[in-house]
């Protein structure tokens, strides 16, 4: 069994069961409807027989037919109850975010009290008050579901309500109701819908329970619960008459729960770990692997449909123990380059290359496990790399368990050790905390520690310090240096900040509009940069001697979008040295002094 099918088997089973139930609900009554109500005085209260596999009831009606027919009614009632519960719950849960403060507190208190109240009691109470029968049962189960939904809505809404974009909208004077409908609800819809699936399973079981207690569906109507109720007194004599409906209820309940569970997990996963893109078509001319390079990229191209090509024939190598800085302005394709190396280019992007080798081997031939241990990726947003629901230590341990088959205790010990290694204070205690309990800098350390759970040969760090303050930024950079010196890992350090790159890195690769335009030793940045773009970048960096009375030397114009890059040098429209040739002919990257390569017609 592959990893995928093992992980998704419950979800698939759930989907199959739910689909089968839906089909049954549609075709059941037309096919078996007549048989289910045909009274046969000669066959009263029988047990299982070839003619009646589940026996007959007190009017001689076939129980198998009745179970199959009851599916539609059971499911409809469950749907109605779930709809009532969900609507009531969502309304109740959103009240605190629209009401004035005092009323909001009252609403929150009500929800808390209701959540603490046993659901079954709530359901029975409501059912008795609103009258016996299907209507009462549906209302009762709806009432039992509502508090859970209200609580979930409230928690989700509170999280979103603290997001920066909601603060921004509030400061712009957007009315509360509009904030709710535009900013909060759309962003919490997904988890709510997933919860709905699970609630449906619960409602099905709950309704059966109500009918079983005699509080639900009354004759001559029947659902699974009612059939169970009718068959129950005979359970010692002919158990099959009760087991049939019981099995139907259990199966449907389990199906919905499995499906809801799998959907919820899939949704949580898509935002954290993306599936690897399929092996890219390999262009010819791959050549022999470079023995001195841990990472070797040649002619890497990333394309999106519609002629959008954000990365164009990019080549670079990183040697063991070397930190190579990849700089370039926003949108130049740095992150997509990193994503392509890790096999993480989002759908529908396609990746092609002449060579993309990690430790001499084509990354497409590496298994997930091999790639997972050889490559450590650190992103700008440490929260995206950590699952908010799991403790930090457990997440780190998971890496060793999944990739190296380490046992749980050993993996945990290593996790704490690695956390200490990245200078996280009190690693034992931090390992038991959730990501949100750590500061931004600590989280980034945890992510780096996660990368160190294996023995990475390559570290790809995409803007790892951009979201951090200067002092923490320095600590993280020092940590990266330390890790590189200790493990001899090759590092690709991506940043838009050429000053940081100049300080940290050994070599600098400058990107513009998806291509490398210059490559040079970091020490030569200050006075050896040759490409007009690199020079302009350095000139636009303010320092403590910059003249405050004149505008900063920026670069006029904007980088062309990845879909609008012409034939010539992409920098031509902004370049002070551009000639007619630059517009029509693209300069190749050629050697320019030791360790330096430049793509520009005007650099001789």
């Amino acid at each position: 069994m592959t990893g995928w099918s093992r992980r998704n088997a419950p979800g698939v089973a759930g989907a199959v069961i739910v689909a089968a139930m839906a089909v049954l609900a549609v075709v059941g009554p037309p096919i078996w409807g007549d048989e289910a109500v045909r009274i046969d005085a000669a066959a009263i209260l029988q047990g299982a027989s070839p003619g009646h596999p589940l026996g007959t009831d007190n009017l001689g009606r076939d129980l198998l037919a009745r179970v199959l027919v009851a599916g539609r009614y059971s499911l409809l009632l469950a749907l109605a109850a779930t709809a009532i519960g969900a609507v009531a719950g969502i309304v109740l849960g959103t009240l605190p975010s629209v009401l004035p403060r005092r009323a909001a507190r009252l609403a929150t208190g009500t929800v808390n009290a209701l959540v603490a109240f046993p659901g079954l009691l709530l359901a029975m109470f409501t059912a008795v008050v609103t009258g016996l029968g299907a209507r009462g049962a549906v209302l009762g189960i709806g009432a039992a579901i509502a508090p859970g939904f209200a609580r979930l809505t409230q928690t989700l809404a509170a999280t979103v309500a603290n997001a920066d974009y909601v603060s921004a909208a509030r400061m712009l004077g957007v009315p509360r109701r509009r904030i709710l409908t535009r900013h909060v609800l759309p962003n919490i819809a997904e988890p709510l819908i997933l919860n709905l699936t699970q609630a449906l399973g619960g409602a099905l079981l709950g309704l059966a329970g109500m009918s079983f207690l005699g509080l639900g569906v009354q004759p001559p109507d029947f659902d699974w619960g009612r059939l169970l109720f009718d068959g129950f007194p005979r359970i010692y004599v002919t158990p099959e008459v009760a087991l049939g409906p019981a099995a139907a209820v259990a199966l449907a309940g389990i199906g919905f729960n499995l499906l809801g569970d799998a959907l919820a997990r899939a949704a949580a996963r898509t935002s954290v770990v993306r599936e690897r893109t399929p092996a890219p078509p390999v262009a010819d001319g791959a050549g022999e692997p470079d023995p001195g390079a841990v990472l070797e990229v040649r002619d890497l191209t990333v394309t999106f449909p519609g002629g959008v090509t954000p990365v164009r024939q990019l080549s670079l190598t990183v040697a063991p123990g070397e930190i190579v800085g990849l700089v370039g302005e926003s949108g130049s394709g740095k992150s997509l380059t990193a994503a392509a190396i890790g096999g993480l280019v989002p759908y529908p992007g396609t990746v092609t290359y002449a060579a993309l080798r990690l430790g001499g081997r084509d990354v497409a031939t590496l298994s997930d496990k091999e790639l997972g241990t050889a490559l450590a990726m650190v992103f700008q947003d440490p929260l995206a790399a950590l699952n908010p629901a799991l403790k930090v230590g457990g997440q780190l341990a998971e890496v060793a368990i999944v990739h190296e088959g380490a046992d749980r205790a050993e993996a945990r010990r290593r996790a704490v050790d690695r956390l200490g290694h990245v200078h996280l204070p009190e690693p034992e205690r931090r390992a038991r905390q959730h990501p949100h309990e750590l500061s931004g800098g600590m989280r980034q350390r945890a992510v780096i520690a996660m990368g160190l759970m294996g023995t990475p040969r390559l570290i790809v760090a995409d803007e790892p310090t951009t979201a951090l303050d200067v002092t923490v930024q320095r600590q993280i950079l020092r940590l990266l240096r330390e890790v590189v010196e200790e493990t001899g890992a090759a590092t690709l350090f991506i940043s838009h900040d050429i000053a940081v790159v100049g300080e940290l890195c050994d070599r600098v690769v400058v990107m513009y509009a998806g291509r490398v335009v210059e490559e040079l030793p970091a020490g030569r940045l200050a006075d050896g940069a040759a490409h007009p773009y690199t020079k302009a970048l350095i000139a636009s960096l303010p320092d403590l001697d910059t003249d405050r009375s004149t505008p900063l030397a920026g670069i006029a114009g904007t980088q062309p979008a990845p879909g609008q890059i012409g034939l010539g040098c992409a920098f031509a429209p902004r370049c002070p040295l551009a000639t007619a040739r630059c517009e029509s002919e693209r300069p190749e990257l050629v050697a320019h002094g030791p360790g330096q390569r430049v793509a520009c017609w005007e650099v001789k």
Partner: protein
Amino acid sequence: MIIKNLSVRFGAFTAVDDVTLEIPDGGVVGLVGESGSGKSSLARAVCGLVPHTGSVEGARRVQMVFQDPYASLNPRMTVGRTIAEGAGPKEVERLLGLVRLPAELAGRYPRELSGGQRQRVAIARALGGNPGLLVADEITSSLDVSVQGAVLNLVRGLRDELGLTMLFISHNLAVVRYVADVVAVMHHGRLVEVGPTEQVVGEPAHEYTRALLAAVPRLRG
């Protein structure tokens, strides 16, 4: 406007400790300090986003630009709708131009933008609110140097043309020095030094200010 005796507490922890700071009309005050020194908490308090004691007097229509461009845009709203929320649909193109983004971007969702592009959208949104005080919390730390220069020029231009009053927060003293008339240095929730920019940068009085000056990345010389 003036911030008087402002404190922000989270439980037992005091993030901002009795800060008093004047931001003159049409002036730009730069706030520098290390991680956790309370800069962002002070900014959020001024914007009324966190509970605080003390007062903020004379600030109308405060808008804020946030540090993290990944969290500051609604993932389910297009760029155009985001900007139009404060400024109205007619202003979208002009505001995008101000932050040097092509008008075509109006139809895109944040996930289709690079990090730097997102931050520029957030700046355009705040400018659309016609702010009496603009609080900019590390707005250039995720921008490219080339764009950073343009944004800093823009910030100065807005101050000169519109008389925009600003609280400009950054960890980079070189950046703050370029836009601010007055620099305030924050350390452990307190202001340790406040003064005219050239004075603070040229003759730092506090030891911590000197440490910050040493942390400015340098390429030239």
